[in-house]
């Protein structure tokens, strides 16, 4: 009796619950973009959060997927070959690799991924992406500067269609400069100021000694951080300050020379002299960014998105208001150092020719459509035509454009860049804690870094063509 009742009850509970659970799901085949019939094609677009809205975050219901949903609708209406449905999915930056790897292994990668090239380069080397050479025309090549094409070219092929970019610079608190009597070093509000290395050192020292302690208690001149793998791009720029080229023509690290050592020595010296925040080895980029916003650092790192966000936070009263301006990373030669994160779309090799063709057509559509490319103003446009159009509205576009000539490609588009990030910060930590000298740190970074590159090259379809 009891047995029957128990079994019936258990079966009923499990049945009802699994039906309920099933109701909430979707057909995975559809969501992963399987072709349903000859004239109906379903593709998936994944993106990490970039900007909200189609053109502007102020639009009603603006979200991170708004642009792609709008672009998909526009594309479907005019596309003659197939009836296309585009599924758009936003994934967090730190979920990207886990999701991609599992789906690649499961044979269900997304059709398109819109993301920073530096984060996706390894997928090109792994052969997961298809070249986009056939959708890049002369008009696009003319409108988008060569520097950006270099960022998206791996070997001989273009793997990402550049859409916008996010230049990395320094940010400084002009109020703190004024308080320390450094007015002569201030740049304009819409200028990216270039200081010589000697000037920069003087600025740091003056900030340390002359910044009024009553107004800026517990404040430090410059931000440095080395807690985790986010400590790469700006630190890579600092390591080039004395002229080191970082990569040779074959994609190997060449940091272990007198110039690289000098740069590492310089970083250690400013840290030891108290010209930076303390505890660099245990501080993250997020920490220093927050310290900068709280006026505990006079100079920090920034990029165009962080810069705009910081200004917006000040306007809304979320953070203390101060005069925020931009500067370049100085170098011994006098030429500033700058880099950028190019953002664009890549098409995955799904082994479904129809879907790959439609995906490429969609990428070309939203990367060239005169209306849609205007959305790149939410970052910094890679297209000169768009930058020109919004010059009056966004005066910094011109400054970024001028800066482009000093740009270096921080990843060198080498295979295994994501692992390369993992071996840099431990060396920086060892440098700051005194476990290693500058010479030892750069030597060890080069050795372990080249080992990573060597192993990745062996598995790179681009290097083994």
């Amino acid at each position: 009796m009891f047995k029957k009742r128990f079994l019936a009850l258990t079966a009923a509970v499990v049945l009802v619950l699994s039906i309920l659970a099933g109701c909430t799901g979707k057909d995975p085949v559809k969501s992963n973009g399987e072709s349903k019939s000859k004239d109906q094609v379903e593709i998936s677009v994944w993106l990490t959060p970039q900007w909200k809205g189609v053109m502007d975050p102020s639009e009603e219901g603006a979200d991170y997927d708004s642009f792609f949903k709008y672009a998909a609708e526009k594309f479907s209406k005019q596309y003659k070959d197939h009836d296309v449905k585009v599924n758009v999915q936003v994934v967090a930056g730190d979920q990207r690799d886990e999701l991609l790897n599992v789906n690649l292994n499961g044979g269900t990668p997304p059709d398109i991924f819109f993301e920073s090239v530096f984060a996706m380069g390894d997928y090109a080397h792994r052969g997961a992406l298809v070249p986009l050479n056939d959708i890049v025309d002369d008009e696009a090549k003319k409108d988008i500067t060569q520097n950006y094409w270099e960022n998206v070219t791996f070997g001989d092929d273009v793997y990402f269609y550049p859409f916008s970019h996010m230049p990395g610079t320094l940010a400084y608190n002009a109020d703190m400069f004024k308080a320390a009597g450094l007015e002569e070093y201030l740049g304009g509000e819409n200028e990216i100021k270039t200081w010589s290395l000697a000037d920069y050192e003087k600025i740091l020292k003056t900030l340390k000694t002359d910044l009024p302690k009553d107004k800026y208690s517990n404040a430090f001149p410059m931000a440095l951080y080395a807690l985790n793998n986010q400590a790469d791009t700006w630190n890579l720029a600092y390591l080039r300050m004395f002229g080191n080229e970082f990569f040779d023509g074959k994609g190997n690290l060449v940091i272990d020379d007198a110039k690289g050592e000098k740069a590492a020595e310089w970083l250690k010296k400013i840290y030891k002299d108290g010209l930076t925040n303390p505890g660099v080895e245990s501080v993250s980029s997020n920490d220093v960014n927050a310290m900068f916003q709280n006026q505990q650092l006079a100079i920090s790192f920034t990029n165009s998105v962080l810069f705009n966000n910081a200004k917006a936070d000040m306007e809304s009263g979320k953070t203390p208001k101060f005069d925020l301006r931009l500067a370049n990373i100085p170098s011994e030669s006098g030429d500033p150092l700058t880099f950028t994160y190019v953002t664009g779309a890549a098409v995955f090799n799904t082994e479904d020719e129809t879907r790959m063709k439609v995906s490429k057509d969609f990428v070309k559509f939203f990367s060239t459509d005169p209306e849609l490319v205007k959305a790149s103003k939410n970052g910094v446009p890679v297209r000169t035509s768009v930058a020109e159009e919004f010059k009056a509205e966004k005066p910094l576009f011109e400054a970024y454009d001028k800066n482009a000539q000093y740009m270096f490609n921080f990843t060198g588009n080498v295979p295994g860049y994501s692992q390369l990030r993992q071996v840099l910060y431990p060396e920086l930590q060892a440098l700051y804690t005194g476990q290693k000298s500058a010479a030892e740190a750069v030597k060890s970074y080069q050795e372990s870094g080249n080992k990573v590159i060597e192993e990745s090259k062996a598995n790179s379809v681009i290097f083994n063509k």
Binding site: L17, S18, P28, A92
Partner: protein, 285 residues
Amino acid sequence: MMGMFRKGNKNKKKKEKIDIILNGLVIFFAVLNLFPLYWLFTSSLKNSSDVVKMPPDWFPKTITFSNYVDVFNNQPAFRWAFNSIFVSLVSTIALIIVSCLAAYAFSKLKFKGKNVIFIIFISSLMVPKEVMIVPLFRIIQDLGMVNSLNGMIWPNVATAFGVFMLKGFFDSIPDSLRESARIDGASEFTVFYRIMVPMVKPGIGALFILNFVQVWNDYLWQLVVGQDENSKTLMVGIATLMQDLNPNFAYKMAGATVAAVPMLLIFIFFQKYFTSGISIGAVKE
């Protein structure tokens, strides 16, 4: 007599002093343990930049609920919360049913290869889920369970932890009870359901909490299975809110607070079973 009284009084005072010191220590460690929760909650009521302010504001100078409003307004957070509760609850109930049956069989029944099968079961505990994630994902894909809560629930039921844990509880019940019931004419299932299961209630309570927490926090699996907006769980959804380039610490704290509340409630309600369950399971006949 007087001397003995004085001595007793002295001992009492000494004992009281030790009690005060011990209680002080307990309070100190309790506060120390509660501080992260306090910091989590108060930070969720601050502006992002105030969260990392030095010296810190031990209590928010200006209280804002905008982080909570943002969490619930801009995305289907209620849906995510429902998914999390549903997945955790169903997985746990199903796991308890399956584990009880299996643990009872391993503990009380005699069958060929019992020990070998049990060792195989236990061995599976040594394989981390991360290692199995790709083959498991392919199975779930073939079963059409991607982007469904089913895909999150059933792999969590197929785990040996519950069997291992409950077997200890069944082992602590004297075999004589089962034998007596059998002599009195009770069927095997009646013995299991009417006698044994009520006796391992503390173990079931402990397993409920442990498994509920484990499934609630099963970020990686839920991330790969629930890929679309509506099948995300709270843990995965909250993580999606974080942007690499604009870390809003207070927003993170608000999300983490929302995600922590059901856990705290579960622990508070099942605490009685949990504490007794953990100790009873260790005692054998």
